[in-house]
Symmetry: C2
Subunit: 284 residues, 2 copies
């Protein structure tokens, strides 16, 4: 997502340069080839002689636990704005509030954009267009940093909503984290059934329609990132998955009840269609 951000900034012609700091030589080579940023350095190269105050904005686009490490090690005299793109906020906000005990310029971002594909080659200059960016304020963040970062995301054509880290992580468990796990369960549950697996393995063409394909699109994407998200939001994920099981139980009760009226399903699916329209802000 860091590379998409860099491509977007460059595509918009902002009067600035982007520097991409990558973790490996391989990523550097790829980034240079793909022109992912104006300057690309490995972390090792960058840390040999870092001049942080060259940068107006520092964006961490890293798994959460690594973002937390970088925050702890961050120079306290940095004058620009700092943010991250992390999908769970509690740990990050805790670390920021521990690290910066007076006014600071760290303001956390979660743009609701992404892809199941990992790697610089999948970066897109229009990834953020029309998307929502959830912003989370740590205590003592300066009003200047708030203003600058909100303007930045606005110039990238995102709209914004503000949430504290507790709300953010509860809501994201339902709208992103647990769905990601459920999508992966769906794949494994289907393929591990011996009758299903046997037929699949004896067919050259997929046995599935578009529904199954779409429901599992995000299954298994970016294991490293998701490992970190799950660790960082474990209790909300547990609670929401327990809730999902209760929903299945209610459905099983209906299926097992000989007296269920056929209108039940009509009502249930009609309700889910309408709830989906509310969630996705669709016009029905």
């Amino acid at each position: 997502m860091g590379a998409s951000l860099s491509l977007t900034i460059r595509a918009k012609g902002f009067p600035c340069k982007t520097t991409g700091i990558v973790r490996t030589e391989k990523s550097k080579t790829k980034g240079l080839e793909l022109k992912s940023a104006d300057i690309i350095l490995t972390e090792e190269e960058f840390l040999q002689n870092p001049n942080w105050n060259e940068f107006d904005l520092v964006v961490f686009s890293l798994p959460i636990h690594l973002t937390c490490e970088k925050i702890l090690a961050f120079p306290e005299n940095y004058c620009g704005v700092i943010t991250d793109l992390a999908s769970a906020k509690k740990d990050i906000i805790e670390i920021v509030e521990k690290k910066f005990q007076t006014t600071h310029s760290y303001y956390s971002s979660h743009p609701m954009a992404g892809s199941e594909q990992t790697g610089l080659e999948f970066a897109k200059p229009n990834l953020f267009e029309g998307k929502l960016c959830i912003l989370t304020k740590p205590k003592q963040v300066s009003s200047v940093a708030i203003e600058k970062l909100e303007l930045f995301w606005k110039q990238l054509d995102t709209s914004k909503i503000e949430m504290n880290s507790i709300e953010h992580d509860q809501i994201l468990a339902y709208l992103s984290h647990s769905p990601h796990i459920l999508s992966s369960i769906l794949v494994n549950w289907a393929y591990e059934n011996p009758i299903v697996q046997n037929k699949i393995n004896h067919s050259d063409t997929p046995l599935t329609g578009g529904g199954f394909r779409d429901m599992t699109r995000i299954a298994g994407s970016n294991p490293e990132m998701w490992d970190a998200i799950i660790s960082a939001n474990k209790q909300n994920i547990i609670d929401s998955l327990e809730g999902f099981k209760s929903h299945i139980d209610s459905i099983l009760k209906v299926l097992n009840d000989e007296n269920t009226k056929s209108e039940f399903w009509n009502q249930y699916f009609t309700k889910s269609k309408s709830n989906r329209a509310n969630i996705l802000k669709l016009k029905e």
Copy 2:
């Protein structure tokens, strides 16, 4: 799906005419406007003076219980081929075998194509292209009917696989029917959480990313059709949903275990990515 079939036949320029029999005057008017078929009649009009032997192929594109009714009422002296497009096969094959006790020409089809949108206006002339058609033989179906129907689907650029009705319904519970229910549960589970609902209702922009949108695309589509599918494949759906719950339980056990190693998730997501590639026949 009947209208898509008619449009496909016409787009391919087959030397034949298509007749669409619809249930309501409203559908007839819409079908005439959209030119969904060469001839469009309401069922009432058609049944006033039906000459079945005008047709080489009769295709039932109806909810399962209605398909079963039509099969029971079907004239025994019909000379062409008969099929349906139903998503569950046990009831249909039972009715066919009860109705036709000597050689007959009913051969059941399930093209793995469709859309979450219902109505003649969503019919597409390329809906079947490259898709799989699952074919299910009732006892005593003639080899001529088999040959003709298989050629028909081949000319529509579908590939085929054969399954008996028991296998078909077991497999479809995993790859289609229960996923449909799970997609609807996902929507209701998320929206019925008060914290989630409150934030959604206070935001103009959707709080969800593409993952949630795609996982719920099929939620609530065509309630009438799905009511019939669920009734027709109830036990397989119950068994598979019980299995899905067990998968969630295994995941909850891992989440609740303080000693879970971080490699677990990496392995789990890597496995689901690989299983998905097997199911969808993707090259990894």
